[in-house]
Symmetry: C2
Subunit: 231 residues, 2 copies
DNA sequence: AGATTGGATCTTGGATCCAATTAAAGGAAG
DNA sequence: CTTCCTTTAATTGGATCCAAGATCCAATCT
């Protein structure tokens, strides 16, 4: 497809298509972010009128945003009652780790052969950001980004999207309890091993470390719950 | 939370809360069904006003239903332009098989130990229905149901939901091309083997058959596309 | 003739208004 | 004083109305 006149001009101006952001889009994104990073606690009731005032719009875009959030499983919508931020089911957290254990080894193995130097650098940069940044809210997101950075050259785009969703779910929980568990649970040592092995193209070893990494996290969380439910 | 009077009465009547079906809910379900089973072809433009007339309702619940369908990835929503039924990307079909190959062996292995006689009977009944029913539209759905019937005792509920979604995606494609490929591609022989091995609790053998079953399907579809894109 | 620009028309996005449902508050009867 | 019923306030669901952006077509200029 030859570039059209308009795209040439956009290039000259250095402007991206900048697809117009509609109200419901930014509202959905904002609320999703707030729920994911924990600033909107589980069980919080989301009143349409109230949110409309906050965002300076009517109830209409708000309810559509809430509807989308329901489809994403972030809020629970009870007819005529309202939307509440859905809680994190401990069982689901462990389930998510088990699913990651199925998906991510394949993602890593299929991506490493196609990783370039720039990709490795990206991953390393994320690791450094994690060490510098003490903010727990950022840590979860960075952790997700790091993992995805290593997988991103896998040819199966759908697999990557799937993993992204699982990481989001995990992330949400992580931010809640990272403080209690201690942020060393993120196992930066293993992260460094992963990126080094990936850089050397040592696929088998990298996958082994990843399996151990995710498995250990799953066990830690599970033990944490087990201890908790006995109180 | 103690049961209220009304729920007690509902229980006595044997009536489920029968959650009031809102317009947008039934519209979304109806459209989703139509898209999944192919009666709404890819690329079809979905006009809000038109659909509103069809369902005897205003545009409002229609647009909310369309929004939900977009979140589910069934329609593509272009601002101020409208919603169109999203096409099936050949690449995604193969990708979906690869993902199934990661998820379903674990699902089967973890479910077999907990399967009861009734579960096996359920699966067998679905197989019989597949043989009796020549309707291609039903075949895809029944195929999904059969697989899920074998996995349903797996303790990881989230994994099952995930597989259900993948099967839906696959299903949608299957209905389109089952006629061309021949319905014997569903490999009823392997299906029978699967349920027999599951009944005997032969987990290892069952998983092996399943791997072969899904892998063969993936290869068939991939070859079909390869042959097609060369024309 | 071809391209460009201006406007008419169509479709969606958002605001406002009304109806339906639910939860709660208050009062009457036991 | 408790329980049940009625009434009332609050909130969401749906309809209608207006604004913004997009597409299409014709008129105009090169």
């Amino acid at each position: 497809m030859p570039p059209t006149r308009s795209t040439q001009i956009l290039d000259l101006l250095g402007v991206r298509p900048t697809s117009v952001q509609h109200a419901r889009t930014v509202i959905e994104a904002t609320l999703a972010e707030a729920i994911l990073d924990g600033s909107l606690a589980s069980g919080t009731a989301l009143r349409q009128a109230e949110l409309g005032e906050v965002f300076g719009v009517s109830r209409m875009p708000v309810r559509e945003a809430l509807l989308s959030l329901q489809a994403r499983g972030l809020v629970d919508h009870v007819p005529h009652k309202g939307a509440v931020v859905v809680g994190v089911d401990p069982e689901d957290v462990v389930n998510t780790y088990r699913i990651r254990l199925l998906l991510e080894p394949e993602a890593l193995a299929g991506s490493i052969p196609h990783l370039g130097l720039a990709d490795i650098d990206d991953a390393r940069r994320i690791l450094e950001a994690m060490e510098d940044d003490p903010d727990l809210v950022d840590l979860g997101r960075l952790n997700s980004e790091f993992h995805l950075a290593l997988y991103k050259r896998h040819p199966n785009a759908k697999l990557l999207k799937l993993i992204g969703r699982e990481l989001d779910d995990e992330d949400r929980y992580l931010r809640f309890h990272l403080a209690e568990l201690g942020s060393d649970q993120l196992a930066q040592t293993e992260h460094r091993q992963l990126v080094d092995l990936a850089a050397r193209g040592a696929t088998g070893d990298a996958v082994a470390v990843l399996r151990q990494h995710i498995g250990a996290a799953a066990d830690t969380i599970e033990a944490y719950f087990r201890g908790r439910s006995q109180n």
